[in-house]
């Protein structure tokens, strides 16, 4: 293959990482499913895909912020479960929803402070938080149940002007994240911190006057808030609080981020990549459901896709 084309496909240009390759995978998957299964292109199925992908996509978008800055957030899965449990506490929506987000901010702050102030490795810090929250949610709601505020159910399952809510959620989440990542100093500083870490000079961003610790804490807060958002959406979908609904979400989110070309070492990555990564996951499981492939094989195929797509990346260390 032409070298320039290869570089373009594998993200050799720029710091957006590889997102063209997963985009092509997405289009191929969609094309394949259109040809193979008559059901794929039907509106109900497509809406189903969006509804399926949305919680993973929202969580993964939050995760992207942390990963670009060189961190990792494993606590999001439990936080999603916890958020559904809080919302199902049988109270008024105007108290429970702010309470859920306030709690998410607290979790993000704790993650960020433990990582930046106590110098705990992000994997350990957020893994600990994952366990803490898992214990807390099982205490709060040992089994699924409870009733949700009406506003949550409506905002998830309604369809104002015939537009399904899932689409509106997706647009709002992506637009918010876009503004934060590409339209603010904060976003550029995330790339700066991650780039410094990836090239072995963690001081670099600070030497430019970037307040790196505060920026990092904010990234964890954003990740938590997006996880809480995903939690609100999931609660509305299943109409209950469930201590297990978020299990494994952190790994799916990281999978989506990685397929989207964001480098786990930090400094390289993109929002479109993450959205595409989440779509790849959703199309895979939807397509395999439509073609009646065993769910066990599905998981294995997910792993194989992750390996193949990420393996394409030119894993050059920036700047070295």
């Amino acid at each position: 293959m032409n070298r320039g084309l290869l570089r373009l496909l594998t993200g050799g240009y720029g710091r957006q990482g590889l997102w063209l390759a997963p985009l092509i995978v997405t289009l191929l998957l969609a094309g394949f499913l259109t040809v193979r299964t008559p059901d794929f292109l039907r509106t109900e199925n497509l809406l189903n895909v969006v509804a399926q992908v949305l919680p993973i996509m929202i969580t993964a978008i939050g995760q992207t912020f942390v990963v670009i800055a060189g961190g990792l957030d494993l606590s999001v899965g439990s936080l999603i479960s916890f958020t559904t449990a809080v919302l199902a506490m049988d109270g008024p929506g105007y108290i429970l929803i702010p309470a859920a987000f306030a709690f998410a901010v607290l979790v993000g702050l704790t993650n960020g402070l433990v990582v930046t102030r106590f110098n705990v490795h992000p994997i350990i810090a957020t893994l600990a938080m994952q366990y803490i929250l898992l214990g807390a949610v099982r205490l709060l709601r040992p089994v699924a149940g409870g009733t949700l505020p009406d506003i949550v159910l409506e905002s998830v399952n309604g369809a104002p002007f015939g537009i399904p809510m899932a689409l509106i959620w997706a647009v709002v989440a992506i637009a918010t994240a876009w503004k934060l990542l590409y339209g603010t100093r904060f976003g550029l500083h995330l790339f700066a911190i991650g780039g410094g870490t990836a090239s072995g000079n963690e001081q670099a961003a600070r030497n430019f006057g970037v307040s790196d610790k505060r920026t990092m804490v904010l990234a964890y807060v954003i990740s938590s808030c997006f996880a809480a958002l995903a939690g609100v959406y999931l609660a509305g979908r299943i109409s209950s609080g469930d201590p297990n609904v978020g299990l494994g979400f952190e790994l799916d989110a990281i999978t989506a981020v990685a397929i989207g070309g964001t480098q786990l070492s930090g400094g390289i990555g993109s929002l479109p990549g993450t959205v595409i990564g989440a779509l790849v996951l959703a199309l895979l499981s939807n397509g395999m459901n439509l073609t009646n492939i065993s769910p066990f094989i599905q998981t294995a195929i997910k792993g194989a896709i992750l390996m193949a797509v990420v393996g394409l990346q030119s894993r050059k260390k920036m700047g070295l």
Binding site: L188, H189, I268, L320
Partner: protein, 504 residues
């Protein structure tokens, strides 16, 4: 003339050891001020205080007579102090423009970063320095020289009046050094004050007008360079003369250890031959990139020469050498290769000194052999190398450049080889350590070993080597005895290679 910046009685200590001890320094506009001293003398620490990286324990900084202090380099830059450090400080995954504006990005009316203004202003700053790089280029795509020019442009852009260059030429080739000097002169002529840290004498005398010497964290003195000579400057730095830097030469040679014949680096280059005997040190001189390094690296297989025969202690080394096992192959024949870049190619900076020394011995044994600890040998090495350290368990990365270089050399000396191929034995190493390294090499030769040294520093080759081979255009163009060689002769030979009859 009033000074631009005054550092007054600055002290800074790290964990009990005083790195800078009441040093005062005045900088004037339109002047290039050399800051010299052995590694660990406190030059970099002093400059990091000036740049806002460190806060001084004692002392004050005055800018135009007003007392100032900075919490970080960004604040120092706002006060007009721009620093190009030894280590790369630019972020590789950001564009040139983003690096220039990081931490104080201009915003549009909507609160987004104003990329249009950033890029056009950066373009203007770059072209002011005569650079034609697009501002949207990622820094990871730039050469080391270009990155340094970008850092200088960063200072120009911020309208800095003081530029600190900490060993800017350590990684540059001759052509880039010339471009850098041009920029420095331009800044000087614009009335800026420049601090220039380097270990290379020629550069200091070439570009600087004043010199301040530090030793063990204390100020030795500040002099106009017109009053100094290289040897008086070295004397000031170490308290002894330049000729004392080098050990006395070898006392004759014994058997032929390395015999290279009809060696052609490329298809159309002139063949050359060279012989190295036990007991002698042979230097390879020449301009940058003329094939000296290609020759050495073809012996370990990192470069594939066109043709030639190489015999080591009478045994033929078949060419080309497979890079996968080139170094091990040479090792088994009693040859060690000491690479140029001790940080990247030589040492394991995150591992203890003990491992760094013993790793050569370990690698000579079977992969699954139970590792000996070599404790006594390591202790002896550290002692005979005179490595200044807290102990064999200290990380190699915690040592000064000179001590790192000694550890690297010690690894190969511990292996008990007969031939040493050394690239740049003293790059970025202070004068005191240089002298010790020269002595180590000379001792090795005196015990019957053969040494080939490749160096950019002509003075070093003249002082150290028994014979000097001048390389030009991928072939040896001239040979002279170290004792009688003069810098000018070597330079002439390297420049007028075509006029010299080929040795054969």
């Amino acid at each position: 003339m009033p000074n631009l910046v005054e550092l007054s009685h600055i002290s800074k200590s790290f964990g009990g050891s005083l790195a800078v001890d009441h040093v005062s320094l005045e900088l004037f506009g339109g002047s290039v001020h050399a800051l010299m001293g052995e590694n660990g003398a406190g030059k970099s620490t002093l400059m990091k205080v000036l740049a806002g990286v460190y806060q001084p324990d004692e002392g004050e900084i005055f800018k135009n007579g007003h007392k100032v202090s900075f919490a970080n380099p960004r604040e120092a830059l706002e006060f007009g102090i721009s620093t190009v450090f030894q280590e790369m400080t630019l972020l590789p995954n950001l564009t040139i423009a983003e690096n220039m504006y990081l931490g104080r990005e201009p915003l549009t009316a909507f609160g987004s970063i104003d990329y249009r203004k950033m890029n056009s202003d950066t373009q203007a700053a770059l072209s002011e320095l005569g650079l034609s790089l697009p501002p949207q280029t990622l820094v990871s795509g730039l050469s080391i020289a270009e990155r340094q020019f970008v850092e200088i442009a960063h200072g120009v852009k911020a309208d800095a009046s003081i530029f600190v260059l900490d060993e800017p030429t350590a990684a540059l080739n001759a052509a880039d050094v010339e471009v850098l000097n041009k920029h420095i002169r331009r800044l000087r002529d614009a009335g800026k004050a420049i601090v220039y840290i380097s270990h290379r004498m020629e550069e200091i005398f070439n570009i600087c007008d004043t010199v301040t010497v530090l030793k063990d964290g204390k100020l030795v003195g500040t002099r106009p360079l017109s009053e100094m000579t290289p040897s008086s400057l070295v004397a000031m730095m170490v308290g002894r003369e330049l000729r004392d830097l080098f050990p006395s030469r070898g006392q004759g040679t014994n058997g032929l250890l390395l015999d290279v014949k009809h060696f052609k680096i490329g298809a159309s280059t002139k063949p050359f031959s060279l012989q190295v005997h036990g007991g002698e040190i042979v230097g390879l001189a020449g301009l940058e990139g003329q094939g000296q390094q290609k020759f050495l690296r073809s012996l370990i297989g990192q470069f594939q020469p066109f043709s030639g025969t190489v015999a080591i202690k009478g045994k033929a080394l078949p060419l080309p050498v497979n890079p996968a096992w080139g170094v091990r192959r040479l090792r088994s024949m009693g040859v060690a290769f000491v690479p140029e870049d001790r940080k990247e190619e030589g040492l394991f900076l995150g591992l203890p000194i003990a491992h760094n020394i013993a790793i050569g011995l370990h690698s000579a044994r079977s992969e699954l052999a139970i590792a000996k600890n070599y404790r006594q040998l390591i202790a002896d090495s550290i002692k005979s190398l005179n490595v200044r350290t807290t102990g064999p368990q200290a990380h190699a990365g915690s040592l000064s450049g000179g001590n790192q270089q000694k550890v690297l050399l010690g690894r190969y000396l511990a292996e008990g080889v007969d031939i040493l191929l050394v690239e740049e034995p003293t790059r970025g190493v202070d004068v005191g350590a240089k002298s010790e390294i020269y002595k180590l090499l000379r001792d090795f030769a005196a015990k019957g070993g053969a040494v080939i040294v490749l160096s950019r520093e002509t003075v070093e080759l003249i002082g150290l080597c028994d014979r000097i081979l001048v390389v030009h255009g991928n072939t040896v163009v001239s040979e002279m005895a170290g004792a009688s060689a003069a810098e000018q002769d070597i330079l002439n030979a390297a420049l007028n290679a075509e006029a010299v009859v080929e040795q054969e």
